[in-house]
């Protein structure tokens, strides 16, 4: 790139800035700055002059009435960062204070109060416990003996309330009781000494406040656009953070159409910190994406072809928060990193980190800000590094020796007093040796071949300092577009400049840099609020809060479709929204007569040149976005109250209703029972039980112990618990054989009475299921199963004969027994769930874990299955019902 043959005239001074100033609302208007004369050529009669500012540029018009959301809101609601009203004093007294002199008053007392209320344990833990008895919180009067050692807090509270009500009253200090109390206990009541705590809190408050005033951690912006490959399909990729904590990184493919839309689901990475900055550069057809969070920086590689997955390459950790990460546009896998300790590193994927500079002091004069920045220059080994006072360029090969000053806040660049560097940016894609520097007042374009003297300067008049900038290089000879974005106010400004106009004088040699066209304000995120469908007031408020969240990033792309040019601007908000602005160029280069007329007429005819109503496609987007937002932000269920579930949800009414009348089986049974009673006989083999289960040891009192717990307890009471256990666990071979024999006989008999036993198949299968479930250790006693003795088989020796009354199951059990469940039509797979579920209710609050063996007996509902399974499984898991 050639150096301009002549530059615009300017004075050059040295030293600190002379001009007093401050934010000036219209400082950028109405000035040409300087002119450069071409001089009369051979044929020209008159010399032609070009202004530094005021040349014609491209004319961009908003394509839609407002910005349109691109991404649907993700699940999980956004947590707004603190607002000024959260930490500022709001009472009338302080308004007076504020009006008088000092800027803002931080509500220190309220925050300290919040701390005491939110963390009482940390604030007064031990003494609170010690003095617990000496404070009385009730309303009644204290009696005489108690009065000596107890303070009635209610009185104190009343006093505090009164004090609050009298705020601003000149006699407000007359609260002797409060003063007495605070005087008495100020020194010992607090867990952390009050002075120390207050210091810490105050420091935190100051920090919060300063970050509210100006948060430089977002510098650079957390949104990157990876443009489509040249000549490829028009699919680019948006890289942005997301999630409630902004700690997820998304690579979302976006199809560029009239209204860009997302394609597919994004590639997602979970990171270990809030993403503050996303930077990207394309080298050799590949995109390298650098991501900065406070203590970690990472780099990803995205292949040029869209759809290919991004690859994480490397991560570094810093001890001090990093303040800058930029990606080299020259060499693949090179980045520069700055930390707040004043260290600048060149980070290469292959060779690691190289420290270029370490200086906690600022470069040109003293400034308290630890913010540092660094970027690349036209020379791949030379890096610029910046702080609030200016920019220097360092040669990475000899950083101590080879450096030069590129920009100084001072008379050299005609700065104002109090001006500070906000964001430097290498403009390499437009011109290899140009640099953009923004301050809170002005924007400068610098040429590194002519350091210190800005080749362009303009007062941008933005209300908040521009933290984000994006360059869209134009074709040779055309103007370049630069977007400046502010965070808190969401301002978005489009500037155009020309690095060269074809000099009228010197036969086409390059001429100096000039600002083209007028700066233009673009739609903010908050601007789409009025175009959204009408909302209920409280939702409108929430929406407003979300849409006015500070901007957190900026990216843009130019699209050329023949003569039609359009500019798409992506804006990213702290709430995680990506909003798009569409600008279209009104071609002024080839003015057709009709077009010209339009151009002339338009700005005068209608006060609002951009369409007043969003297009149907945009309106549709708004509705989709809104719906997704309301879905995503629905209140998650809370668990502060004991969980309660209606049974109706688990079972239909029909499920829960008992059978209308006795079933045929029951009728049969009753009939048989009655018959047998009339006959005076007895029913044997009432049910074909325990195919594989040997008979239980007959140590139980026949009528008494329906459950093993009572049996065990009574055995223990009698003092022969050990024997009980022995008997319970050991079975002689003879017993087993006998049991087997009995079973075979039973089976034979059962076959003989097919009609009856056939109706019990369900319980049979149930039992066998159980045996499959358990690895049949010593079988547990099931109270639902009465001991059945065969007529033929002699009862086991030493055990009293058992009469066989059919013990009725407990009501709970009746509900849980598989039969009753089955007959209520509850499918098998849900039976276990139900049982588990109900057992929880019965269990009550969770208890300390029990040794596995004993847990079975702890269960209040001795359903056979739960006993068995708990006995066999090492530790019973709590039932999972989704809470």
């Amino acid at each position: 790139m050639e150096f301009p043959a002549a530059l615009f005239p300017s004075y050059f001074g040295a030293g600190p800035p002379q001009e007093e100033g401050g934010p000036a609302p219209v400082a950028g208007w109405g000035e040409h700055g300087q002119v450069l004369g071409g001089g009369p050529g051979r044929r020209q009669v008159q010399p032609a002059f070009v202004p530094r500012r005021g040349a014609t540029g491209d004319k961009w018009e908003a394509a839609d009435a407002a910005a349109v959301p691109v991404l649907l809101p993700s699940a999980g609601c956004w947590i707004p960062s603190p607002a000024p009203q959260d930490i500022l004093y709001r009472s009338g007294l302080c308004r007076k204070l504020k009006a008088s002199k000092s800027g803002a008053t931080l509500d220190f007392a309220r925050q300290l109060g919040h701390f005491f209320v939110d963390y009482p344990e940390d604030a007064f833990g031990s003494l609170g416990r010690l003095l617990h008895k000496n404070f009385y919180l009730g309303n009644s009067k204290l009696k005489r003996p108690a009065r000596n050692s107890t303070i009635r807090m209610t009185t104190l509270m009343e006093d505090i309330d009164r004090l609050e009500a009298r705020r601003g009253c000149p006699r407000q200090h007359l609260a002797s009781r409060l003063r007495w109390f605070s005087h008495l206990c100020r020194d010992w009541l607090f867990e952390v000494p009050l002075g120390l705590l207050a210091d810490c809190l105050h420091e935190e408050l100051m920090q919060q406040w300063s970050s509210l005033l100006f948060d430089d951690s977002l510098t650079g912006g957390a949104l990157a656009w990876l443009p489509p490959e040249d000549g490829g399909t028009p699919v680019g990729c948006l890289v942005h953070p997301g999630g409630q904590a902004m700690n997820h990184l998304y690579f979302q493919d976006v199809v560029l159409e009239e209204l860009p839309r997302t394609r597919g689901s994004p590639a997602q990475f979970e990171l270990s910190g809030r993403v503050q900055q996303v930077a990207a550069a394309r080298v050799d057809g590949q995109d390298f994406v650098g991501v900065r969070s406070n203590y970690h920086c990472g780099v990803w590689r995205v292949p040029g072809k869209r759809g290919a997955a991004p690859t994480p390459l490397q991560v570094i950790r810093t001890d001090v928060p990093a303040s800058c990460l930029t990606v080299s546009p020259h060499l693949p896998g090179e980045l520069s990193v700055c930390t707040q300790s004043g260290t600048v590193y060149l980070w290469s994927i292959e060779t690691g980190l190289q420290q270029l500079r370490h200086d906690p002091q600022t470069m040109f004069f003293r400034d308290h800000s630890p913010w540092r920045w660094s970027d690349f220059t036209a020379h791949p080994r030379v890096l610029s590094c910046a702080d609030r006072t200016g920019l220097q360029c360092l040669d990475a090969r000899a950083p101590r020796r080879c450096h030069f000053d590129l920009f100084k806040v001072g008379e050299e660049a005609g700065c104002q007093q109090g001006e500070r560097v906000v964001l430097p940016m290498y403009l390499g894609r437009a011109h290899p040796s140009q640099y953009l520097v923004t301050t809170q007042f002005s924007v400068y374009v610098l040429d590194e071949r002519l350091p210190l003297v800005p080749v362009l300067k303009w007062a941008h008049m933005m209300k908040a300092p521009p933290l984000f900038a994006h360059l869209m290089p134009g074709k040779p000879g055309r103007s370049h577009n630069v977007l400046l974005g502010a965070s808190r106010t969401q301002e978005l400004l489009l500037l155009q400049y020309r690095d060269s106009f074809w000099g009228v004088s010197s036969g086409g040699s390059q001429s100096a840099c000039q600002l083209a066209g007028t700066p233009q304000k673009l739609h903010t995120i908050a601007g789409c609020l009025q175009h959204l469908p009408t909302q209920l007031p409280h939702r409108h408020h929430l929406l407003q809060q979300r849409l006015t969240a500070p901007a957190a990033g900026l990216a843009a792309t130019l699209q050329e479709d023949g003569p039609h040019k359009s500019m798409l601007i992506f804006q990213f908000s702290e709430a995680g929204d990506v909003i798009i602005n569409d600008e279209e160029e009104e071609d002024v280069g080839t003015p057709a007569p009709l077009k010209e007329a339009e151009l002339l007429q338009e700005p005068c005819a209608s006060p609002q040149p951009s369409p007043a109503v969003p297009s149907p496609a945009a309106a549709l987007r708004y509705r989709h976005w809104l719906r997704a937002l309301s879905r995503a932000c629905r209140e998650p269920p809370r668990h502060t109250w004991p969980p309660s579930l209606s049974q109706r949800r688990l079972f239909t009414r029909r499920d829960l209703e008992g059978p209308a009348g006795p079933s045929s089986l029951q009728r049969q049974m009753r009939q048989r029972l009655r018959q047998t009673m009339e006959e005076g006989g007895r029913i044997q083999h009432w049910e074909p039980l325990g195919l594989q289960l040997p008979p239980v040891p007959q140590t139980l009192e026949p009528a008494g112990g329906p459950d093993p717990l009572s049996a065990r307890l009574s055995a223990a009471w009698a003092g022969d618990w050990e024997q009980w256990w022995e008997e319970r666990t050991s079975f002689s071979v003879a017993q087993r054989q006998r049991a087997l024999r009995e079973r075979r006989q039973r089976q034979k008999r059962a076959q003989g009475r097919r009609s009856l036993s056939a109706s019990f198949t369900s319980s049979l299968t149930y039992q066998s299921e159980l045996s499959e479930l358990s690895d049949t250790g010593p079988p547990q006693l099931s109270p639902a199963r009465p001991p059945v003795l065969s007529q033929e088989g002699s009862p086991p020796a030493g055990s009293p004969p058992v009469h066989g009354p059919v013990t009725s199951a407990a009501p709970d059990e009746a509900l849980l027994s598989s039969q009753s469940l089955r007959c209520r039509g509850i499918p098998k797979e849900r039976q276990k769930t139900l049982r588990d579920y109900l057992s929880v209710w019965a269990e009550g609050p969770p208890e300390p874990p029990e040794p596995p063996g004993s847990q079975a007996s702890q269960l209040c509902i001795p359903s056979s299955q739960s006993q068995l399974s708990s006995a066999s499984q090492p530790r019973r898991k709590r039932p999972r019902m989704g809470f």
């Binding site: 790139m1 005239p9 693949p332 008049m461």
Partner: protein
């Protein structure tokens, strides 16, 4: 109360201003103009002590609107400017200057000249530093316009001179313009600053009248005075002057050497390199190699075929003569860790081949010598070249293969 009134007035003023600002930023010139007529009221009760007062705001906003308003005319604009000049003493010169700039840009050179003359004669008490600077600029621009008039007369004379006819009156007039221009231009270029256009004109005047010493002194001062910014153009002008004067090669080289030290990426470095390559002296040859290597370090030169051919030629010479291979080695040492990725990647090989064959030829030659025949760039380009049956690429391959040992010596 009056205090409250003041506050309210201030508030509504601010609101009005923000409306105007909004309209301007959205190019709604008519709307802005309507608001501005309301804002004019603020002039009456100007309590503000801000550094941009309402009168300046009105000037700035009004100018901007008149620039863009569809129904503007130069006459209205001039009228507005005249009014604005009377609004504030402090800003008089500034407004004059801007007015002149606008006239100049619209081709009204004579009106501009008149305005400059009026402004120059303006006196009001003691001048502030800023006013002093503005006055100097006004004089300088007047000098510039005088120079243009001079140049016009000169052209007329020259054309007429060819006819063998000379007009004494025209000549007289021309000398008059010279004197006026020279005085004013001489003044401004003494003050530190960027005065490219003024210096150029002044030197042109001096040269025409044969005052080469003065011209040389002016250019030397402009280039080497440390109070001036390090302006590459200052050195370029000096170099061009020396060249015009037919100065010795040595002085040309020394002028360019300084430019090389300040701006290694200046486009004159190619001329410099060619000049040095022609030299017989080892030191200069060596410098030439340094210059071209340094230029190619910069991103702006990446695809400059001319520069690559310079480097290729010199490297080839060195390789063939097998003398001074250590020069290449030394230059290569500080670059071998990043030039391969920066210049000689496979992606670039493809791209260069597609876009500019001769560039890829030169680069492949350099790559083959510096990185050996196994280098990706060389391999790709020579392969493509042979496939396309281009003779010089075959020669290139042969050459690199023959001189492969050089690579070992450079890298070793």
């Amino acid at each position: 109360s009056s205090n409250e009134h003041k506050l309210n007035f201030k508030k509504s003023k601010e609101a009005c201003l923000s409306y105007i600002q909004d309209a301007l930023l959205q190019k709604q010139w008519k709307r802005a103009a309507e608001f501005l007529t309301c804002y004019v009221e603020s002039l009456e009760k100007d309590y503000s002590r801000e550094h941009i007062g309402p009168s300046e705001m009105i000037w700035r906003i009004g100018t901007e609107i008149l620039w863009h308003h569809s129904q503007n005319s130069m006459k209205e604009f001039n009228c507005f400017m005249e009014q604005m000049k009377t609004l504030g003493v402090k800003r008089y010169l500034k407004v004059c200057l801007e007015h002149v700039f606008h006239l100049l840009c619209n081709g009204q050179i004579d009106e501009a000249y008149q305005n400059l003359s009026v402004a120059e004669s303006w006196r009001f008490g003691e001048q502030t530093a800023i006013q002093d600077k503005e006055m100097k600029l006004i004089q300088a621009y007047r000098g510039l316009l005088d120079y243009y008039s001079w140049s016009k007369q000169k052209n007329i004379l020259l054309e007429h001179g060819e006819d063998g006819f000379s007009d004494l009156a025209v000549e007289q007039e021309m000398h008059g313009y010279f004197r006026k221009a020279a005085v004013n231009l001489k003044e401004i270029i003494k003050i530190p600053g960027v005065w490219d256009i003024f210096v150029k004109c002044y030197v042109d005047l001096l040269e025409f009248y044969g005052d080469h010493n003065e011209a040389r002194q002016v250019l030397n001062e402009y280039a080497y005075n440390s109070k001036f910014p390090a302006n590459p153009n200052a050195h370029v002008y000096l170099y061009q002057f020396l060249k015009r004067q037919g100065e010795s090669k040595k002085s040309l080289v020394s002028a360019l050497k300084i430019l090389h030290d300040i701006v290694p990426s200046h486009e004159l470095m190619i001329d410099f390199n060619t000049m040095l390559q022609k030299s017989k002296r080892r030191k200069k040859l060596r410098l030439g190699l340094e210059v071209i290597f340094a230029a190619l370090d910069y991103a702006g030169w990446k695809e400059n075929a001319k520069a690559w051919s310079c480097l290729a030629r010199q490297v080839k010479q060195i390789v063939i003569s097998e003398k001074h291979l250590d020069w290449i080695k030394q230059e290569w040492n500080s670059r071998k860790d990043w030039w391969p990725a920066f210049h000689f990647g496979r992606y670039l090989a493809k791209k260069n081949w597609q876009e500019n064959k001769s560039l890829s030829y030169e680069k492949a030659l350099v790559a083959g010598i510096l990185l050996g025949k196994g280098c990706k760039y060389f391999k790709y380009v020579s392969h493509q070249g042979c496939k396309a049956q281009l003779k010089r690429f075959r020669m290139l391959k042969k050459f690199v293969n023959r001189h492969n040992p050089v690579y070992l010596r450079i890298s070793g």
